[in-house]
Symmetry: C2
Subunit: 336 residues, 2 copies
């Protein structure tokens, strides 16, 4: 036992080691990188599910309900909650999690919140690394929860096999506009708080946006459980996936089973059409590109003296040199 | 005239050339880079004001009202609206702009919307480039409007000298959490829709969050116009800036004058404390870093064969190699 590496402890199912490794990952320590490299060969088995939605859609509750549902199916579930709040109020989200009594004390569930601080690249990379840890540690479903309001989600959704976009009735026009942007990344749509007035309008709006995105597929755009099976059967035929629209009420669990079924169906669709490997490869490619970018910049700065770089910045500040000329010179000089 | 470069036409005040250049910039064409390098030496005079806020705060209307106000002061105003909606519904925001009759037809105002597509780095860079164009073209105030919900704003706020965070009463807990994250980047706080119920609570919440951020400065945290002057006088003494809280009602222009005064005061504060040059230098540094990153990656891929890279990705996909080992090898090999 004493000679086990951190990665080995994680693989053996040690929850304390898992928590410790996640902390290392968040701090991007050398220990983290060593463990990640060791764990990598054990990864690639989990179903990665991105869940994104605007503030106020109740997506955290929905994620909790999904976790409960997957647990009933004996699946081990991890949740990475990417939380854009600052350390000041980090407690708000944590409080919400703590209230989730049904999940606490269950060894088959692991929930980790992380704040979206530092560079976005950093956040996407940290999320990817955490996902890898959970995947290697044998969690069959890893849910990545983000607050959906634009570009962040697109970057983080690239991590997932299946992206669920959560909407809710009556969130106003401004949010409607945002919705359109993240609709393009949706594999499954959930209208949460579906017991509220306006749910028909929300669904109608989503459906017409989907029609714009998939003009030839109008007929598949239904909601509810039976139509998912329908749409799936036809979509599998045509190898085309039409995002199903599922109504849910996370507060009492209504519709969660149907949503979970749609998520599972999407995984099956990806596996049967080769889309799974395609997304997996794209995900790994973008991870490599991010690491590469970082390594190249680090090497560049290691080879260039700090004073030289500062004097370049000073010249730019004084408008003697433009940033474009500066970079051309810096990179060419070092290339020639 | 026929021999004028695009940059020269822009400098001469040609609005058509300006619009054309902005389109080039959005497409990141070679013409854009050439023009930007040419315009760069004319930049550095504008006051860059970032305006960010969650959906539903009415920040677009507030930006329009600020523009009207600055126009009354004979200042030329440009607005870069970073719009996270997709091309599908881009019309929504555009429609809002078009309704702004008071500004249309005024040659002293230029409004440009851009969608937040592509990589975030790309978006921040494009916004920076557009800002530079307006700055060089002689617009004295450039407002950069973003939807505030996390990391995007932090990156885009780095572009601005002054960042205004817009809040509104009654947007719910989820948005409260987000608020805390962007509060850290606020130089000025606006509570818009201040005629709505709940404004007292919103201000109380903001004030207590500010107290957490600036524990020794409780006494300066007031709202309204006179207290701004108060806080400013004391803050200038101590060379510390406390974000003032301004109540506004964008629909009828109430409080806009006070907000504009707070923005101008912040610029004066920055100039008197050396903060202006500090922010300017940091902004240019992060621009150079972004261009550098891009150039290094481009050079890397130009020197490495596509097949070699694909075979590395394939090995990673098959879990024969971890991304970390791969990058170490790729970068070291090429360094040695």
């Amino acid at each position: 036992m004493a000679h086990m590496t951190l990665a080995e402890s994680v693989l053996s199912g040690d929850r304390l080691a898992l928590a410790r490794l996640l902390t290392h990952v968040e701090g991007d320590s050398p220990e983290a990188r060593a463990a990640l490299a060791e764990l990598f060969s054990y990864s690639g088995r989990a179903h990665l599910v991105g869940i994104t939605g605007a503030p106020g859609t109740g997506k955290s509750s929905l994620v909790n309900q999904l976790a409960l549902h997957f647990r009933k199916q004996e699946k081990r579930v991890a949740i990475v909650a990417v939380d854009p709040s600052s350390p000041f109020t980090g407690g708000a989200v944590l409080g919400d999690r703590v209230r989730m009594r049904d999940l606490s004390g269950d060894a088959g569930v692991f929930i980790r919140s992380m704040a979206s601080r530092g560079s976005l690249g950093g956040l996407a990379q940290t999320t990817a690394a955490m996902t890898l840890v959970f995947d290697a540690a044998g969690f069959e479903i890893v849910m990545i929860e983000t607050v959906g309001a634009g570009q962040n989600e697109v970057n983080i959704a690239r991590l997932a096999h299946t992206t669920v976009v959560v909407e809710a009735p009556g969130l106003g026009d401004d949010i409607q506009a945002i919705k359109a942007g993240i609709l393009e990344i949706a594999d499954v749509l959930a209208i949460n708080k579906a017991d509220r007035p306006g749910v028909e309008n929300t669904e109608k709006a989503l459906r017409s946006m989907l029609e714009l995105a998939h003009p030839t597929r109008k007929k598949f755009l239904h909601h509810g459980r039976p139509m998912i099976a329908d749409a799936a059967a036809e979509a599998a035929d045509s190898r085309l996936w039409i995002p199903p629209i599922c109504r849910t009420v996370a507060t009492d669990g209504k519709g969660v089973e149907g949503l979970a079924a749609a998520i599972a169906l999407h995984a099956a669709h990806l596996r049967s059409t080769g889309g799974w490997n395609l997304r997996e490869r794209e995900r790994l490619r973008s991870e490599v590109e991010a690491l590469l970018r970082e390594a190249l910049v680090r090497r560049f700065h290691a080879e260039l003296s700090g004073e030289t770089f500062e004097s370049v910045i000073q010249n730019i500040f004084e408008r003697k040199l433009s940033p474009w000329e500066a970079v051309r010179t810096l990179v060419n000089d070092r290339q020639a």
